[in-house]
């Protein structure tokens, strides 16, 4: 079964490369305009401007400390949880700036789901993990059906359907991560953010997550942070490369957007020398 999967994936990558779809212009799910995030006085990322296309996979890559996690957390207002964080600039989502005072972060997070680096299922049953979001959002009509649908979409249903009351902690790492994806999908977001979703997983589990991403692309917009360039190359349509700028005194490190383009361009013909240095391994 493993070899068949691998063949399937290889075929898919080959096909994808030849098709080379351009982002559907005019359909951006996020438009970032000069976004800067500072923790107290220290700027973590500065002046980020880019459009994230809908129904595509957009990757954020860069060396450690370049603010990739900070950037992705801007998109679902998770930075709000850090008291010293201050966000300036605009993040336009469905015509509204997410950081307007009138906007409810709780609503934002329902529509923009997140999967974390280390799988973090709740210490409850598989069923309750997926049902949690539905319950708190009052989406409890046909609860069983919704749970099954989410688990199917996350490619986990067949493996767990025999006992949904099993504790989530008994699942393997890869299964837990797919459970977290199901949990996010259940509340019907239109976007899924993934902060290094496979870095804590073994290669086989990683592969399955990447396959899943392709399947999910039809229905959701996906933004993924990864430190693994090959993964970005395999999986994403658009790639943003963040690099670190060091202040003159040498004490402040801030992430800035070096380049943002279609993945093939980034990896085969980058325009910025910093991008080229990174992908050819000269640093980072």
């Amino acid at each position: 079964m493993v070899t068949n999967e691998r063949e399937r994936v290889e075929v898919r990558i080959a096909t994808r490369r030849s098709e080379s779809p351009a982002p559907r212009t005019g359909e951006s799910v996020f438009r970032l305009q000069r976004v800067t995030v500072a923790y107290a006085e220290r700027e973590a990322i500065r002046d980020i401007t880019l459009d994230v296309p809908a129904n595509q996979i957009t990757a954020i890559i860069g060396p450690s400390g370049s603010g990739k996690s900070t950037l992705i957390r801007v998109l679902n207002r998770m930075n709000d949880l850090i008291p010293s964080a201050h966000v300036s600039g605009k993040v336009i989502y469905h015509g509204q700036d997410l950081y307007e005072p009138a906007v409810d972060p709780v609503e934002v997070r329902r529509r923009i789901g997140m999967v974390f680096q280390k799988p973090n299922p709740f210490p409850k049953s598989i069923y309750e993990n997926v049902a949690f979001g539905l319950r708190v959002k009052g989406m409890t009509d046909g609860l069983d059906g919704r749970v099954e649908q989410a688990l199917r979409a996350a490619a986990l249903w067949d493996e767990v359907k025999s006992d949904l009351r099993k504790n989530a902690y008994e699942l393997s790492g890869g299964q837990q991560q797919r459970l977290c994806i199901a949990r996010a999908i259940a509340v019907e977001p239109d976007t899924i953010l993934m902060d290094e979703p496979a870095s804590a997983l073994d290669p086989i589990a990683t592969q399955r997550i990447e396959d899943l991403m392709f399947e999910l692309k039809d229905q959701y917009s996906i933004v993924i942070v990864t430190h693994n360039m090959q993964q970005a190359a395999r999986v994403s349509d658009m790639t943003a490369f963040l690099t670190v700028e060091v202040s003159e005194e040498g004490d402040r490190r801030t992430g800035v957007l070096a380049e943002y383009d279609r993945t093939e361009v980034i990896f085969t013909n980058p325009s910025d020398p910093r991008t080229e240095a990174y992908i050819t391994g000269r640093f980072g």
């Binding site: 015509g95 009138a102 409810d104 934002v108 529509r111 239109d190």
Partner: protein
């Protein structure tokens, strides 16, 4: 899914959430209310008290007889009883508690610790009435009276000794925590020079843990001063200004109990006296607690 038409992201009112957070805040702030309540209830009655009784008489008088005629409101008999018993308790608990702490920290194997520590916790959990019973029905008749002629049935010595034993676990656990927090590197240096365990314990670890031990001592004193039932049972309820521990004498706390056992109409002079005593008690224990806290801070600054 795909492109979703204009969606509503505006802030929801979420009244339920706000109400709950308000209730939680109230719970959190309650403790401040308790402190204010203590201060207010003590202060109001004490101020009333000092309208009838002069503070000088109170603080320097040697006869405490509020209900007699002529009445006397000298608090010294009660304070001296409290201090005498506390001193005896300290004489018991400080060396024994410290010794136990040194043993547990520097000498005991983990097996021994696993047995001893819960036992000390049991000792700490015994209700004070039970200790009082023990003092009156065993320590006094079976230990003190045979050994020390002239020991009365109610006596300060019995109370002090038992209070001392009761606070051994307190002294031991805080001192032990302080000693275990001393970095291993200090011990290593000493052992490396060929020092014995005894030397390391007394010359290296103990001095390093000194402020933690001081915190333990202050807290133990505070506890002993505030102790009520053991002294009420063992040392009796009658004020007696005497340096002789073989005699019975009421502490401040015991006197409050004595008054409360009777009928105390609100606003009567007796009612006010228990609050005046309460204030005196509160001030003494607060001072010791603050001292203890300062020692803990100093210790933490050094090692954490």
């Amino acid at each position: 899914m795909g492109a979703v038409p204009d969606i509503d992201l505006t802030r929801r009112r979420r009244v339920g959430e706000r109400l709950i957070r308000g209730a939680l805040l109230a719970c959190g702030v309650l403790s401040i209310g308790v402190t204010l309540g203590i201060l207010a209830s003590l202060a109001t009655e004490t101020i009333e008290f000092f309208r009838t009784v002069s503070p000088i008489d109170y603080l320097t008088g040697t006869r405490w007889a509020p209900t007699f005629t002529p009445s006397d409101f000298g608090v010294l008999p009660l304070v001296s009883a409290t201090l005498l018993i506390t001193a005896i308790a300290a004489a018991v608990a400080f060396p024994l508690g410290l010794g136990a702490a040194i043993y547990l920290s520097e000498y005991a194997t983990s097996r021994v610790r696993r047995v001893i520590k819960p036992t000390l916790e049991v000792l700490a959990g015994i209700p004070t009435v039970v200790f009082g019973y023990f003092a009156l029905t065993f320590v006094t008749p079976d230990v003190l009276q045979p050994l020390i002629p002239g020991t009365r049935i109610f006596n300060a010595l019995s109370g002090g000794l038992v209070v001392g034993v009761m606070i051994i676990p307190l002294v031991a656990s805080i001192s032990e925590d302080a000693m275990r927090a001393v970095p291993w590197s200090l011990r290593e240096a000493a052992y490396g020079m060929g020092a014995t365990r005894r030397t390391v314990a007394t010359r290296v670890v103990l001095p390093a843990a000194l402020s933690g031990v001081a915190a333990a001592f202050s807290l133990a004193l505070s506890r002993a001063i505030g102790e009520t039932m053991i002294v009420a049972i063992a040392a009796g309820l009658n004020p007696n200004l005497s340096p002789d521990p073989r005699q019975g004498m009421a502490t401040m706390t015991a006197y409050i109990v004595q008054v409360s056992l009777g009928d105390t109409p609100f606003g009567s002079i007796e009612y006010k006296t228990i609050y005046a005593l309460g204030t005196t008690l509160f001030v003494m224990t607060l001072a010791l607690n603050v001292v203890s806290y300062r020692f803990v801070k100093r210790f933490r600054e050094r090692y954490e």
